[in-house]
Each structure stands twice: as structure tokens, then as C-alpha cells.
């Protein structure tokens, strides 16, 4: 299991390759799911996204969410990378990857990780545009998404 909280960009292709190589070497995985979150352009209105986090708590919260995924599903491996700081449109914000013997587990675990990272890991997004900046409001739908697990 790899968990990284960092301001530096990460290479989605290289991370995906490395994750895949590690689980295929072991041979038990038949399915890998990755999710990558990007800063949307929103028609040019957004000039940057600033992501604040709670150092110390962030790593612990992500580890607890990943541990819960490992308890719930039959997984060969889990990866979570989440950035903070100032990001330009098109930049990768974060990624998760799950490996499992079967595809249903890999998909369910990846969606679970995303739902919980969204609402239970201490990150806050601020959108910075030409007309000023605004904290992204949490959506009721994101809180509701937790109820399905």
C-alpha cells in the first residue's frame, strides 16, 4: 500500500505502470482500476485551484480509509496520491489505484476510496478565477454517496 500527500506533480502513466508491475509480479491480481482527478478548465473561468490540507491528519485519515477498503474487499494492493498547493487547469489533483483478483472488487474499492477521500480526508479546494476566489462548497450528493457503503 502506498499513500502519498505531496505538493509536487506526479506522473500518472509512471505511477500506473509501477502499481501494475508490482501486482502482476505477485500474480494474484486480475483487475486494476485507477481513478484520476484533474483540475477542470470550466470554460476558461478558472485560473488556478488552491488545495489546503491538514498536515498530520491528512495522512492518517487516508490510511484509515485505505485500511477500511482492504478490510471490505479482496484487494491485492491500494495506492492513493493526493496533492495540495496551487494547481493549474488540467493538472492532476490526485489518483487512486486498486488491484484485485476480480473486477467487481477493484471497481467497488476505487469508488469507495473516492467517496471517502472526497468528504472524509481533510482537504479544502479554493477556485481562483479572474473575478476573485471561492472555496468549493461540499455537495449534499457527496455526503449522500457515503451512505451506499
Amino acid at each position: 500500500m502506498k499513500i502519498a500527500v505531496q505538493s509536487e506533480p506526479f506522473d500518472l502513466g509512471a505511477e500506473t505502470s509501477a502499481f501494475s508491475a508490482a501486482v502482476t509480479g505477485a500474480g494474484a491480481a486480475g483487475a486494476i482500476v485507477t481513478f484520476t482527478g484533474l483540475v477542470r478548465n470550466d470554460g476558461g473561468a478558472l485560473s488556478a485551484m488552491e488545495i489546503e490540507h491538514y498536515p498530520g491528519m491528512t495522512e492518517k485519515a487516508i490510511a484509515a480509509i485505505a485500511d477500511e477498503a482492504v478490510r471490505r474487499w479482496s484487494l491485492a494492493d491500494v495506492l492513493v496520491i493526493h496533492r495540495h498547493g496551487r494547481l493549474a487547469p488540467g493538472e492532476t489533483i490526485m489518483m487512486v489505484a486498486t488491484a484485485a483478483p476480480h473486477r467487481a472488487d477493484a471497481f467497488a474499492a476505487a469508488e469507495f476510496l473516492m467517496d471517502y477521500l472526497k468528504s472524509r480526508a481533510p482537504f479544502w479546494k479554493k477556485e481562483i478565477g479572474a473575478d476573485g476566489s471561492d472555496w468549493v462548497a461540499a455537495k449534499d450528493a457527496d455526503e449522500a454517496a457515503l451512505k451506499r457503503w
Binding site: 491538514y54 472526497k118 472524509r120 480526508a121 481533510p122 482537504f123 479544502w124 462548497a137
Partner: protein, 82 residues
């Protein structure tokens, strides 16, 4: 003495990211009452508790949780990661 941390717009409204607070508050709610009484910027930050979350020693908690033994309290809006 307890470390109190603020994030996102809570930090912006109060004007600082963290401070040490001398308190004998029994619960988070008591601590909030004490902070609200300090200055308008605190009253503004804590005006609507439904828009706030609290973590005690880096674990999500609730406003009626006891503060005994707690070293670090953090206040912030609902999280928007992912």
C-alpha cells in the same frame, strides 16, 4: 493550554491558522462559546455550526465531545478533497 487550528474559510475569517488557547471548557461546544465571546471575527466564524466540522487530536469528532486529555482541536468546513 490547547492547540486550536483553523482551516479554509474558518482560518480566513479568524485571521490565523493556529493559536494556543487557555481553557477549562469541558466540551467542544463550551470551547466554541468561549471563542465566540472573544471577538466578532470568532463569532462570525462560528455563527453556523452546521457548516463546521471539528477534529480532536486529528480524528473527526462531534461538538458535544469532551475535551479532557485533548491536545489539538481543529475547526474547518466540510471537506472537499478528491
Amino acid at each position: 493550554m490547547i492547540d486550536v487550528l483553523y482551516f479554509a474559510w474558518v482560518r480566513e475569517r479568524i485571521g490565523l491558522p493556529r493559536e494556543k488557547v487557555e481553557t477549562s471548557a469541558a466540551t467542544v461546544a463550551d470551547l466554541i462559546d468561549q471563542l465566540r465571546a472573544r471577538e466578532d471575527r470568532y463569532a462570525a466564524a462560528f455563527a453556523d455550526l452546521s457548516a463546521l466540522r471539528v477534529a480532536l487530536d486529528q480524528e473527526l469528532s462531534s461538538f458535544d465531545a469532551p475535551l479532557s486529555g485533548v491536545r489539538e482541536v481543529a475547526f474547518f468546513p466540510p471537506m472537499t478533497g478528491g
